[in-house]
């Protein structure tokens, strides 16, 4: 239950007014309020020792250590740095910086100029060679770094016919067949260009047209 006191009674209780200053109709309320106030224990509140210890321990845990606070201030607050340089020191300082940049640049792994990743689009191309009497046939070209071991041909049905299917990235490729590991043979069904080594390379152009990828 809450009792709302008249403002003049509140001022009486605060000592600002005397009882005689109050209107007669408020005297009874003022006296009652004075009695209630007198009944209140005005002694200072003392907390149990255990409770105080527990509260203080909690407070100490949450307080930032002074050293940490100092560091935090150093990081958060703006610094004023004054740099006084003699002009002659600029030359050696710049040279040292340049050497540092060079050392850092050289320590980076160099990026090879040739893209070795497979092209996003590739087309399966079937290579066929008629090589009667051959024991081993493979195809090598710009698409496999001329490594004849990566694309061997297999006998394909009819005697002397060798074939394989290779996924080629879109683009133009030059190639040749290697028969029995020692004889380079052109593809008679494909256009040819001079290889610069006294022989000729066959040419295949793999394109990705609107209706899908295809080989020329």
């Amino acid at each position: 239950m809450t009792t709302v006191l008249h403002p003049l009674v509140k001022r009486f209780l605060d000592g600002e007014l005397r009882l005689a200053d109050l209107p007669p109709e408020l005297h009874a309320e003022a006296r009652a309020a004075e009695r209630l106030l007198g009944a209140v224990d005005r002694a200072p509140v003392t907390l149990p020792a255990a409770l105080e210890a527990r509260v203080m321990a909690e407070v100490r845990q949450r307080v930032i250590a002074p050293s940490a606070r100092r560091w935090w201030h150093r990081l958060a607050e703006p610094w004023e740095i004054r740099l006084r340089l003699r002009p002659w020191i600029l030359g050696p300082a710049l040279a040292a910086a340049a050497v540092l940049v060079l050392i850092l640049a050289r320590s980076q792994p160099p990026v090879p100029p040739v893209a070795v990743a497979a092209a996003p689009e590739s087309v399966y191309v079937r290579f066929v060679l008629y090589a009667p009497g051959a024991h081993r046939v493979s195809v090598a070209g710009t698409f496999n770094q001329w490594d004849a071991t990566t694309a061997p041909l297999a006998p394909a049905g009819a005697a002397g016919v060798w074939a394989t299917t290779v996924a080629l990235p879109v683009g133009q490729h030059q190639y040749a067949f290697l028969v029995d590991g020692r004889r380079w043979v052109n593809d008679p069904a494909a256009p040819m260009v001079d290889d610069g080594f006294g022989r000729r390379n066959s040419v295949v152009a793999v394109t990705a047209g609107a209706a899908g990828a295809r080989a020329l």
């Binding site: 100029p113 040739v114 710009t142 494909a190 290889d195 080594f197 022989r199 040419v203 295809r214 080989a215």
Partner: protein, 223 residues
């Protein structure tokens, strides 16, 4: 340039290859070609890069030479020839179109030159192509047509008429197959190209016709 290449071959035994081996081109070639070739090709690659030319074709040619068992001198000469062609293609493309030619166009131009086109032909094909098509694709097609035996003049004319008739890139790419189809029918390469060029010119003269022939045989697949 030849002197540079020869110098590379000569300097290899003196330990210069150790420095070259640290570089990307040298790393790609290591173990695939003799050490002297690595030094020479690295020098040629540096020269190419300094001129804004693609380096990959040089490395590929060196690797090809190593795989085919060519002598070191022959490999260096072959790589040097590729570099020369790349430079010629770059000049021809610069004369034909504004700006710096892209690396793939330069590479395709070098291929066209290796197939038998002349510098002027490369320039004409690039000019006929203009901004409407990829110069690299047009030059690859031109080179392939040349490799099929079509004379350079007929190659240029066929590409030009195909583009004039409104032909798109796919129409260009179909040209080698269409020429081969004509060859299978008994035409010579020159006759096949000339006939296809005349047909394209007729389509260009007739308004409303697309660049592709109305009833073309499907191109054969290679290889």
């Amino acid at each position: 340039m030849r002197l540079l290449a020869a110098l590379g071959v000569l300097l290899a035994p003196l330990g210069v290859s150790a420095a070259a081996a640290q570089r990307p081109v040298a790393r790609q070639l290591a173990g695939r070609v003799p050490a002297g070739v690595v030094v020479a090709v690295t020098a040629l690659a540096d020269s190419a890069a300094a001129r804004g030319l693609p380096v990959d074709p040089l490395v590929e040619k060196a690797i090809e030479g190593g795989a085919k068992g060519a002598s070191p001198e022959r490999i260096v000469v072959a790589v040097q020839t590729v570099l020369t062609r790349l430079g010629r293609a770059q000049v021809a493309l610069q004369a034909a179109t504004p700006g710096v030619p892209p690396a793939d166009a330069v590479e395709a131009g070098a291929f066209a030159l290796s197939a038998g086109l002349q510098d002027a032909n490369v320039q004409e094909v690039a000019r006929a192509c203009g901004p409407q098509c990829s110069a690299a694709e047009a030059l690859r097609v031109a080179g392939t047509l040349t490799a099929l035996g079509v004379p350079p003049a007929e190659v240029v004319e066929l590409v030009r008429q195909t583009l004039r008739a409104g032909g798109k890139e796919r129409d260009l790419l179909a040209l080698p197959g269409r020429v081969e189809a004509e060859l299978a029918g008994g035409s010579t390469p020159a006759q096949a190209a000339a006939g296809l060029a005349r047909a394209a010119a007729a389509r260009a003269a007739a308004p409303g016709q697309s660049g592709a022939p109305p009833h073309g045989r499907p191109p054969p697949r290679h290889p």
